[in-house]
Amino acid sequence: MKIAYKHLVKNIIANPSIDEISDRLFQLGHEHEIENDIFNMEFTPNRGDCLSLNGLLRDLSVFYDVDANQEIYNEKLNILDIDFENFSHDICPQISFLKIEIEDIPDKYKDYLNDYFIDLNLNKNNFFTDISNYISYENGQPTHCYDADKINGKLVFQELDTDQEFETLLGKKINLKNKNPVFLLNDKVINLAGVIGGIETSCSSNTKTALVECAFFKPEAIIGKSVKYDIQSEASYKFERFVDPECQDRTIRRFIKIVDEHANIKDVSVISYNFKQNKVTKIPIKTNEINQIIGTNISQELYLNYLSKLGFIINDEHIEAPSYRSDIETQNDLAEEIARVIGYDNITRNEITIPKGKKSNIYDLENNLRFFLLDEGFYEIINSPFVGSDSSNSISVDNPLDSNKKYLRSNLIESLLENLLYNERRQKDSIKLFEISDIYTVKNKKINVTRKLGIIASGRAGHNYKDFSKKISKKYLTSVFKETLPNENFEFKALNRELLNTKVKNEIICCEVDIANFSSDVLSYKKISKPPENFIEYSPISDLPYSIRDLSFSIKDFTELDKFIEYILGFKHDFLKEVYIFDYFNNEKNAEIKIGFRFVFQSSDSTITEAQVNDIISVIIDHTEEINGITIPGLN
């Protein structure tokens, strides 16, 4: 909600700066951003009472002397004769109607009304609707203005289970479905209560007689309606968060006053219905308990003074919450009020003692499995559980984000296969992935959970000279896993590539195992990898293609071999993403060692060119040519 600094400060006697008010608002828990001296407020859902200029001033009055008593119409009012019936008292326990007729529609507004539209960059509609919008901004109570000449029959309020079309005053046609609180005129819906009025009875720029409805609707009856019908409605935003059930009389009189300040009133009459008394919340005065909750030591006098400034009524033994604070029920609620006023940051820390819980070992086994897989070059993946197709035991999502996310996956392999193919498309030639996750399924309406490990791999066994030419196969993975975990049954299988439409032809090997099926042998696995000790600053990744170069060196003088290898493997360049030894051959007979290095290049700005790669490779070659006994066979 937008509230102008200018409008706030006009009512605060001390005239605080915008920065000072901003600090106070944060202290009170009212998040906001400031743009062009306008506070764009984001209130927590329990503070519907703050959704207005006066509401915010009420909260700020704990710090400042505030004068927010706008003038109201104080004359005696005639009783309106209206044919109205309320069939849903529980939903609408309080409602008032004002019928007001003016001689002429004003051609300009008083400064305060005009400024509201200019300062907040709002469009004007028509005289009565403009006042309605202004009053909602000023005191938080939404009102709805009908053109009184169009209300020619019995008006009914009720929560109606209906299926009918309704056109809003903004011209949007919606199909009302299921239960909705509505106003009916001669059995036809003319207003989706608390959300938006209908076009048929709305005011226009020619309207001289308005019927103004001012009601309290229970939040639970309004909530979700604007989302359901895709309607932007400030009224429903307020009703959903609770408006003051006791402010209708004042709102109506303020409405009349503003009309009176702009036009000659020919006729005015009002009727108010109070179908159910508003409940008053009384909480015993217990200053010690408040201090215990917050961890402070404030006096009772100060405590009650703070509450009094926030509008609470103090009796001998009780604190009475004002009608607009539906969120106040307990001592903890009052403690929060005091903590806000003191300032959370001003509450002194008190050293905590934490009762020692027992050491949990629920993740030990799967942690060891994870580290075993890391040591074998596997990367951990986390996938979303939402999938588009089901199996017989899939759990269905009632309200999916889209049709491709209608079910919860019933296995890990399908997601892992997508991950593998994604990385293949990114030119990865050695892909080893795993995921550990709960899998939920349903059988005979009973939901079952199984914690599973999924593994998938394809391509080269690794980027080192022993694994480079080996391809991942069922036999290869089985032997590697059996070597370290001989008693565990991974049951690797090959996936059929034929239906996958891929250029790569490497075998895809996978397995999916229940974590519960692993033996306690896993607990004795000795980890080699260690998680990083420091948090790594991430470098944005490029989606551009790689360029690969291989260089094979012949070494006949071994004195500088270590230095040479160190130089190549430690070579740094922004475009060089990876370098590794892919080939090593020790020819004892010829007293020669051959080493092949693979260089993987990628740019983050544009596709890397041959010339760019050549420039980098030249630097490496030039350096190595200076080393005795090292040559590049075939290089002129």
Binding site: I293, G295, T330, A335, R426, I528, S529
Partner: protein, 241 residues
């Protein structure tokens, strides 16, 4: 000159994989909290409305319960938990105070953009004992934040609203660019929640806190788009070794 018979082969550098950065962050924070004395407990991702909302004092009218915020499954019989708080409820029903639990894992909400995903990870903690106050909560939060971001980090507490805590707060840290960044929510356990778990709120009080793991991981690793964590891109994952 040595002969090539004596030369050792080049060091065989075997490729190592990496833990997913979100799980690494989760393990780091859980490890920290365990070192403080908290006990790890676990619970299901598919929950009932009772445990996910009712027991936590989230009213029937609360917007979070709406179909546009919560994923319901199997004809609304169950839902995907929207936070890890129901695990705390299960813990409190099983064990009597004093108690100090943490739980971490996947949670689900109907969001999908650069800063929100329908699936993300949370860690929540709860401590129930005699005479726990907001001043104790502040002490714990300072310890957590200082451990994660260093002792020089500036933090502030803002009043907030969670139905299951009262008073409630959100905690921001000051970034190096001078911007306040929200990192966690916390508060004193609402006495109604304690009573729902058969804990006498006249004798015991509690504190609770919860943090989004992706949020902390994004800050610590400098990742700008939350979706990067879940693309399964090896170029991304291999950076977190």
């Amino acid at each position: 000159m040595s002969s090539n018979k004596d030369i050792f082969s080049p060091e065989l550098i075997k490729d190592k994989g990496s833990i997913h950065p979100i799980n690494h962050m989760k393990d780091t924070i859980m490890g920290l909290l365990v070192s403080f004395g908290f006990e790890i407990i676990d619970g299901p991702e598919i929950e009932t409305e009772e445990f996910n909302f009712d027991m936590l004092n989230i009213k029937k009218t609360h917007p979070a319960r709406q179909m546009h915020d919560t994923f319901y499954v199997e004809g609304k019989s169950n839902l995907l938990r929207t936070h890890t708080s129901p695990v705390q409820i299960r813990g409190m029903l099983e064990k009597r105070p004093p108690l100090a639990f943490i739980s971490g894992g996947k949670v689900y909400r109907k969001d999908d953009d650069a800063t929100h995903l329908p699936m993300f990870h949370q860690i929540e903690g709860i401590l129930v004992d005699k005479n726990i106050s907001f001043a104790h909560l502040k002490d714990l939060i300072y310890k957590i934040v200082h451990s994660l971001f260093g002792k020089d980090i500036e933090l502030r507490f803002r009043p907030s609203y969670f139905p299951f805590t009262e008073p409630s707060a959100e905690v921001d840290i000051l970034s190096s660019e001078g911007k306040w960044l929200e990192i966690l929510g916390c508060g004193l356990v609402n006495p109604k929640v304690l009573e729902n778990c058969n804990i006498d709120s006249n004798s015991y009080s509690g504190l609770a806190f919860g943090l989004g793991i992706e949020r902390i991981a994004m800050l610590k690793h400098g990742v700008k788009d939350i979706r990067e964590f879940y693309k399964s891109n090896l170029d991304f994952l291999c950076q977190f070794k």
